[in-house]
């Protein structure tokens, strides 16, 4: 799997990150300037809500697959 990275908004160094961890609220630190980037605390409920919807959808797909096989 391809490693994901975002350019540091401060120094442009690539910050490797894991999107699932980012969505859980983990902040990622630039290895060069130590700036940290993450989802703001107040935005986490929005993300949780979206992730929950996505998980529900995945479950629906999974159960649809099971019933069709």
């Amino acid at each position: 799997m391809q490693e994901q990275s975002i350019p540091c908004p401060v120094c442009q160094t690539k910050i490797p990150f894991d999107v699932h961890a980012l969505l859980r609220g983990v902040a990622f630190t630039c290895p060069s300037c130590f700036a940290s980037i993450g989802i703001a605390q107040e935005a986490l409920p929005t993300v949780n809500d979206a992730m929950q919807k996505l998980e529900e959808l995945k479950k629906n797909i999974h159960s649809a697959k099971k019933s069709s096989s």
Binding site: P9, V10, V19, H20, L22, L23, A27, C33, F34, A35, S36, I37, G38, I39, A40, Q41, E42, A43, T46, V47, A50, M51, K53, L54, L57, K58, I61
Partner: protein, 217 residues
Amino acid sequence: MEETTNESYSYSGLDIRDFVKVSLVSIAKAQHALSVEQTRAMLETCFEYDKTTKVHKPIMLTMALTRALVVPADSPNALSTVQHFTSYFAIPLITIMPFNSLGIDVLNLDFNMEVTSQSTTTVNYAHTFTQKQETNCRVNLFGKIVTPPNTKSITPNSADTFGNSGLKIHIEAHAIPLTKGLLSIIDIYSNTLDPVTVNTPPLSETDTDVQISPKTT
């Protein structure tokens, strides 16, 4: 192009070409169904639908960028201090959601077939424009699905173990990337977003408000 075929064989077993075709079509159908769900999920989770204007408005996500800055001492006897400043900016939720996980991640389909019979088909092509006749000869293979002898599980080399009439068929499918259109939107967003400080607070404040606005260049 018109095609007339002239076949002479007695049926024995499945047409191997059709069998592979059916497997590929099933995978494509599954990918299609998942793509439809993926699109629906994008609309439902990342956009707010306004019934009056019938517009899908993107849900924006606030990101926090914290960095340490050395604040110079305000008097000759004082020491410089390191303070953390947090800037906030918004990105569309769609650019961060892992939608690819809805598609087929990896699919491996292996089966072994034994050729039970073969035939040749003479195909006469009549080109629509030139009206030229061409004749091609096609070999058709028929077979049945078999378990390779002495191998319970299928390994990449197992085809070698069951003779010349055996065929090992391996079909591999991987996740489809996000659609080109969506990737372009994400690219446009990431290339045009540029943090702009709307008000510069005094250094004693630890939070600054930053608004994302499109680049003018």
